[in-house]
């Protein structure tokens, strides 16, 4: 006969149910962030800014909680959370995500004394966010294939048949897309379309991200790569300069290829600790934090007085970039439509 022992089995089932629910109950017990805690949603990575945000707590005496994720995902999360959000401060990798929150009225206006710490070029016209660091678009090249005098002096030089199939770019990368928006702002829709069509005709190679582009240049698979400056500096820091073959070229002038973009911060509208959030933005613009960006992430500080002790960065004031309102880079949808049209998406 099949042994059915109800009492034992029932006990086991009850034990299983308790085992299932007990951790849930424990987990529910952990408290929500109160008004004394500053909750930062960071679209910037922990490896890049974790050390800095630790110092934020020490420097300001605030109880800081940081949530890390992608900038776009975090912006979407803050929008979905609506008024109930716990986020006090949004620290974003790019101006676009801040702009999206600003447009939906989810960011509070910052006071002039905070905004004035960054050059006018690097803050929102409506005062909803301020840049904390900057990055330059550069051309990485393989010195084994390209002599210095052959380097492109403008975006139009990239259309030369010499570079057919020899240029790498990262189609899904936000900085690349922002630079295309820059083309549209600087040259108009028709001018941008003409350049993109020519570029697509030169059969550029697509890569997953800037780093993959740099690696391909470094290994000589392609001659040129369109990336941000700091990828090269971080690679040098990671494997040593003697092991990096690729070199950087700053195009300069007011060429769209020389665009300088930013990472920045905004205070979430209606949050429960506005003073603490403001203090945090001030900290991110302080000399200590600006030096951290220059030394640790190899970005340009927005405070021109601060220089990097660790990376060989040309000063931001010497980096020529087109004069462009970064808020105008928010028209990404049109850029994507155009990229799709010319077959570069």
């Amino acid at each position: 006969m099949f042994p059915i022992r109800p009492r034992v089995r029932t006990g086991a089932v009850i034990a299983a149910i308790v085992a299932l629910t007990a951790p849930l109950a424990v987990a529910c017990g952990s408290g929500q962030a109160g008004p004394d805690t500053l909750v930062i949603y960071s679209g910037r990575h922990e490896g890049l800014v974790g050390g800095l945000l630790d110092r934020l707590g020490q420097a300001t005496g605030l109880d800081v909680e940081v949530r890390y994720g992608g900038s776009a995902e975090m912006a979407a999360q803050i929008l979905e959370e609506g008024a109930a959000t716990e986020a006090d401060l949004f620290f974003s990798q790019d101006a676009g995500a801040l702009g999206a929150l600003g447009e939906q009225g989810r960011l509070a206006t910052l006071p002039a004394r905070v905004l004035n710490r960054a050059p006018e070029k690097f803050r929102a016209a409506d005062g909803s966010w301020v840049a904390t660091s900057a990055r330059a678009r550069v051309v990485a090249y393989d010195p084994g294939q390209v002599r210095e005098e052959e380097l492109p002096e403008s975006a139009d030089d990239l259309l030369d048949p010499r570079w057919r199939g020899q240029i790498g770019y990262a189609p899904t990368n936000a900085s690349w897309q922002a630079s295309v928006t820059g083309f549209r702002v600087l040259r108009g829709e028709a001018g941008a379309r003409a350049w993109l069509t020519g570029f697509a005709g030169n059969q550029p190679q697509r890569y997953q991200n800037n780093l993959a582009v740099l690696d391909a240049v470094d290994q000589g698979q392609i001659a040129l790569g369109l990336i941000n400056h700091y990828y090269w500096h971080r690679k040098v820091a990671e494997v040593g300069e003697e092991n990096v073959n690729a070199r950087l070229h700053y195009v300069g002038g007011d060429d769209p290829l020389a665009l300088v973009n930013v990472a920045g911060a905004g205070v979430v509208e209606g949050n429960d600790s506005p003073d603490a959030a403001l203090k945090a933005v001030e900290f991110l613009l302080s000399e200590q934090a600006q030096r951290y960006f220059a030394d640790n992430t190899a970005e340009y500080p927005v405070n021109a007085d601060v220089t990097s002790a660790r990376h060989d960065l040309p000063p931001l004031t010497e980096v020529q970039s087109p004069d462009i309102d970064l808020s105008s880079l928010s028209s990404l949808q049109e850029t994507l439509a155009m990229l799709q049209e010319v077959g570069l998406s």
Binding site: F2, A27, C28, H45, G47, L48, A72, E238, L336
Partner: protein, 493 residues
């Protein structure tokens, strides 16, 4: 609650889709690009599912029924690719062979990480199948090959199609491999919409299309599974005699070694290279430990909750054949085809409004895992319950036990190994999950997957390698248990 799990993302998608008006929905749907994306995703899902069917069935037959040298080790090694997240596999592949980008790369990576979804249930079916039927065919003069085609394939058909469905749904939902391989699939469209336009409406509309595709596939699988399930007779549970491979031994062995090398060797080799080459090494053991603990706890709770929700659905699906049972099972499969970010944002939306106390707490993350991975557990429960002899339930009922007591005391204990296998499968899948984990984890809690992500995003590969390695190990343990659970009573004896 199982129904709520299945319906939460659907409700969210419909809500968001129509936010911009009906016209907007039409505009997004009728774009040429939407159709192209759907076509590409379906082609990829079909190709990967077909390849997984071939690899999975051949592999399962070799390790269960043949005299392949080292087949015990092969049985373990062929399950382990399940432990490799598609983004790790994709990353290491594209780093080694950049020219694979596009369809070939996406196809290769997804096939290699997901063929165990077919191999595992087929191996279990082969072990529990009654060898007498094959022997009868052989004594009636059918050669070995024809016996395999006529008898064996029919015995494993339900297991194989169920596995292939999971593979196809997984391919539809995958973002890691397709994005790394730059293959523009449906999920790429969804992510681009979030990342480039910060506009959630087109992403939601595309999500609805994915749900429809998933429903169609699930329905198709039900048709293909057919009524062939179940044994002709009880038969004696015993191990069948291994089929001698003869001259095919060497090619078969070479095939298994090749698959294992590609699926496991390449990622492991790349991780070792990262560890040795970079200077960002020096991971904090305390961080590694807390991330491991984070992964074990959230995945453990996720697996428990998923299985708890799957049991009623699976029992319903195995024992009843009505429109309700069919509907609940069908709905539970929808979540599996949705990318993690869509399910994650749906729970952000509902979570903070319905249960603010649980928002960004572990239980809600566990619930997200249940939405995403319910089909994995439902399939396991359904198969296990279907294999438990209903006659024992009848005996319990005749002895005066009620319906619920019978299922609790008789059906569940009988199907326990299969249900545990489902739990193991869900656990390791939770451990690999990334987008929903990023959105819903408690602030400050890290898992191995989130740490791996945050280090690779900033190119600190040497720092990322230990997290990837531990993640492989943590996911490998349930993968091994899974193999044990599914060996069944015959071979454990």
């Amino acid at each position: 609650m199982a129904a709520a799990a299945a319906l939460a993302p659907l409700a969210y998608l419909v809500l968001r889709s129509f936010e911009g008006g009906v016209r907007r929905v039409g505009d997004v749907l009728w774009q040429e690009r939407t159709l192209a994306l759907a076509g590409r995703s379906l082609a990829l899902a079909g190709a990967v599912a077909a390849a997984c069917l071939v690899l999975g069935v051949l592999g399962a037959w070799l390790v269960v029924r043949s005299d392949l040298p080292g087949r015990r080790a092969a049985a373990v090694l062929l399950v382990l690719p399940l432990a490799v997240p598609s983004y790790v596999s994709g990353f290491t592949w594209i780093a080694q062979w950049p020219s694979l980008a596009g369809f070939p790369g996406a196809f290769g990576v997804l096939t290699l990480v997901s063929f165990p979804y077919v191999l595992l249930p087929v191996a279990a079916a082969l072990r529990s199948a009654d060898p007498a039927v094959e022997e009868v065919a052989r004594t009636l003069g059918k050669p070995a090959g024809r016996t395999f085609l006529l008898v064996t394939l029919r015995q494993i058909r339900p297991a194989a199609t169920a596995g292939a469905l999971l593979v196809a749904l997984y391919v539809l939902s995958d973002f890691g491999a397709v994005s790394l391989m730059r293959f523009e699939a449906f999920t790429m469209g969804i992510y681009t919409s979030y990342q480039a336009t910060f506009d959630r409406t087109p992403a939601a509309i595309l999500g609805c299309v994915l749900v429809v595709l998933a429903m169609a596939l699930t329905y198709g699988e039900r048709r293909a599974r057919g009524a062939a399930a179940g044994r002709a007779a009880r038969g004696a549970a015993r191990t069948p005699h291994p089929v001698p491979l003869g001259r095919a031994r060497i090619p078969a062995l070479a095939g298994v070694v090749t698959v294992v090398t590609l699926a496991l060797g390449v990622p492991v080799y790349s991780l070792l290279r990262w560890l040795l080459a970079g200077r960002s090494a020096g991971v904090d053991p305390a961080d590694l430990l807390s991330a491991t603990w984070g992964t074990v706890t959230v995945s453990g709770l996720g697996a428990l909750l998923t299985v708890a929700l799957a049991i009623p659905v699976g029992v319903l699906a195995a024992r009843h054949r009505g429109p309700v049972a069919r509907g609940v099972e069908l709905a539970s499969f929808a979540g599996h085809a949705l990318p993690g970010i869509t399910v994650g944002l749906a729970l952000v939306f509902f979570g903070i409004r319905v249960a603010p106390g649980l928002y960004q707490e572990v239980p809600m993350l566990a619930f997200a895992y249940a939405v995403l991975f319910l089909p994995l557990a439902v399939g396991a429960v359904r198969t296990a319950v279907a294999n438990a002899p209903p006659v024992l339930e009848d005996v319990a009922r005749s002895l005066g036990k009620g319906r619920a007591a019978t299922q609790l005391l008789v059906t569940l204990p009988l199907s326990a190994p299969g249900i545990l296998a489902g739990a193991a499968l869900v656990f390791l899948t939770c451990a690999k999950e990334l987008p929903a984990t990023l959105l819903l984890r408690p602030t400050g809690t890290d898992t191995l997957a989130t740490q791996l992500w945050s280090n690779t995003e900033i190119a600190a590969f040497a720092a990322a390698a230990p997290y990837a390695a531990v993640l492989l190990v943590v996911a490998a343990v349930p993968a091994l248990l899974l193999d044990q659970f599914l060996r069944g009573p015959a071979s454990r004896r």
